[in-house]
Symmetry: C2
Subunit: 399 residues, 2 copies
């Protein structure tokens, strides 16, 4: 009954499902407080209070048929204008409402853009480590993903290999900064070099290459680190944004894409992306949440970043003191730990002995590492460190 | 920049956009109260009061990280269980929570199912008149739509032509009852015959053919008319449902699909559809609205059907008294009017002279008719009838 394309996914899915069931079974057997699940990117920090306020105000002050009704497939004009204005104020850009399309989260935004631009056989480049779900978004439109191997020194993108792998079939490049899973922020120098390479290759091949910047973690940057705004580096940039992390609303599926006027054929791209939003089935981003986003921007709502920062410091100090190796994350809420044995799947498996659940780096095209998601309670990290200690002893990281 | 598949859509879209802009321009020129826009299926009846109550209760009683967080890609278990229970109670079915997948509206549900089952070149049958957006959902997965011509006597599906057009490549059949645009409910007799034809053809070809029942208008049935539950007629039925009309929440994008155990390979189909929900970018249906749906079902919330019924009667009586021809709608909120001249596009164009906006039947694969959406205010219909009278005189329907 299943289509040929879906068959391998159904088979692979059962592996992930088995892992998920295992976590639940462990929690049932040992008690949830004795299982240290660092596998999921589901924020533990609640939505800021302004979200609830904004919902209540919207329901009080706006008409039901307006709040819950259809609007333009691209979203409410006033919401898009508020977002454009906020971006312009913060990043010195010059967007107007037509550059903004409200979408059902960043994943939907990426699907819409790939639907808009990909022909079968087109290549899309991603830099390891990256969220391998991107592979599915590209395959949905019969594109081929091209992976650039990781630079495990800096976790900045490997631009030498990048340059060598751009071909006349390269239609898009995905970047994700702050990065899931490494926590690294792509630097100003990186983006400048990347833009220069892309421009040279566009000229050489006479093609257009879209740089898709997937930015759900933009606001999760620590120690005052700046996250450069990518449209300012390269004209053919499209930004995908989600409020999943910045307002702790992952289940609500609310975000936007930015298609600047500087993108080649931008008017057609905007029209096509709006149609793609409709025909892929979203029709429009959830209406009440659109209204809420406008009010949250006006209120300056922001998730409690300090909570993630405390987690980050506790976990990073704790793990490095135990002899583990990792780059200190600059943003997002993941820590990418070097596996003490080459086969990180075996390491993840062994960690379960101490009720520690972490995700093997092969799920991010970066074997040899594991992802530890610290969007959990501070107390879970405190309770987990003795388990990480036992694990460290098994690998003789401490003696 | 645009993909080959999207190019024709961008060109066609500009025509629709021009129509939309024309309506706005007319409202600006003549005043919104003097323009009679019957073109949109955007409910004018507000969401029932239980929706707001349910939102407030959810925000008071449930944790922020739960209400706005990730859950299973198929949706919250308790919400799906409540829906399954409600269907079982009303229709004597035997669903459990795994048969229900929460989706981003019916359009997304249909995309997910077609992604799950269609191979390139597979055929999907639709009965005219139908919502031609279905064509795009089928084309998204490289399927081919096969249209059965309308029976303009009864607007029940033409089953003789249907039988002749089923081939070994037929993978799915779409029905939509109560129907957009005709307002007709497919009868028990129709569904029995359709099921018998499908079963015979499955046996003849050794294939599986999914009957996809698109049911956003299920609860909008007048005069106590019954809308048969399709899974009881044919084992390979999948139902797509949306709360867009029954709770006036079209902008919220909340609905579900039902994949019964009786569907061939149902466990795999459920798994694949859940994956498709994730990888097409929805990830999950909007979380707060899922919580709200559960409470609304428990509260027995229902949109004010009487308001639509009043509109239906006023419009139907008014138009038939003026000499127009149409079948009285049994459900939904559309009336499908026979164009007084063969070219219904010319008729729609002429109607604009009196500030009447109606949709040509060619948008529903049924030329010669126009769709009049009566999900508007009663007052708009009252104000519009004199305009319909002038139009009737031009066609000498009345003298």
């Amino acid at each position: 009954m299943i289509s040929e394309k879906m068959k391998p996914m159904v088979n692979n899915n059962s592996v992930i499902r088995a892992m998920f069931e295992e976590g639940k079974a462990m929690a049932a057997e040992f008690g949830p407080e004795n299982v240290y699940d660092f596998s999921l990117g589901n924020p533990n920090v609640p939505a800021p209070k302004e979200v609830k306020e904004a919902i209540l105000e919207t329901l009080e002050e706006e008409e039901s048929t307006f709040v819950h009704g259809y609007m333009s497939n691209a979203g409410y004009e006033d919401v898009r204008e508020t977002i454009a204005g906020s971006l312009n104020e913060r990043f010195g850009t010059d967007f107007h409402l037509n550059n903004i399309i409200m979408v059902v989260g960043a994943a939907s935004g990426m699907n819409i853009i790939f639907k808009t631009i990909l022909n079968p056989g087109d290549e899309v480049i991603a830099f390891a480590p990256y969220f391998v779900e991107y592979n599915n978004y590209v395959k949905n439109y019969d594109g081929n993903i091209v992976v650039i191997s990781p630079d495990t020194e800096s976790f900045q993108p490997n631009l030498t290999e990048f340059e060598s792998k751009i071909t006349p079939k390269t239609k898009a490049v995905i970047i994700n900064s702050p990065n899931n899973p490494s926590g690294v922020i792509y630097s100003d120098a990186t983006l400048k070099k990347m833009a220069a390479i892309l421009e040279a290759k566009q000229n050489e091949y006479g093609t257009d290459i879209i740089l898709f910047s997937d930015e759900p973690y933009r606001e999760l940057a620590y120690d005052g680190a700046e996250v450069p705004y990518v449209t300012k580096y390269y004209a053919n940039t499209i930004v995908g944004y989600s409020y999943s992390k910045s307002l702790s609303l992952p289940g609500e599926r609310i975000g936007y894409v930015v298609i600047p006027d500087e993108v080649t054929d931008s008017a057609e791209v905007i029209t096509a992306a709006t149609i793609a939003n409709r025909i892929l089935g979203s029709v429009n981003a959830p209406s009440l949440m659109q209204r809420v986003i406008k009010r949250c921007i006006e209120k300056g709502a922001q998730v409690d970043l300090a909570a993630y920062d405390r987690n980050r410091n506790l976990l990073y100090e704790g793990l490095t003191n135990l002899g583990y190796t990792c780059t200190k994350p600059e943003g997002a809420f993941y820590l990418f730990l070097k596996s003490p044995e080459p086969d990180e799947k075996a390491f993840s498996e062994h960690a379960k002995k101490y009720h520690l659940l972490v995700v093997p780096g092969s799920s991010f095209a970066c074997p040899g590492y594991v992802r530890v998601a610290y969007c959990v309670s501070y107390e879970q990290i405190e309770r987990a460190l003795p388990a990480f200690e036992k694990l460290a002893r098994d690998y003789q990281l401490i003696r």
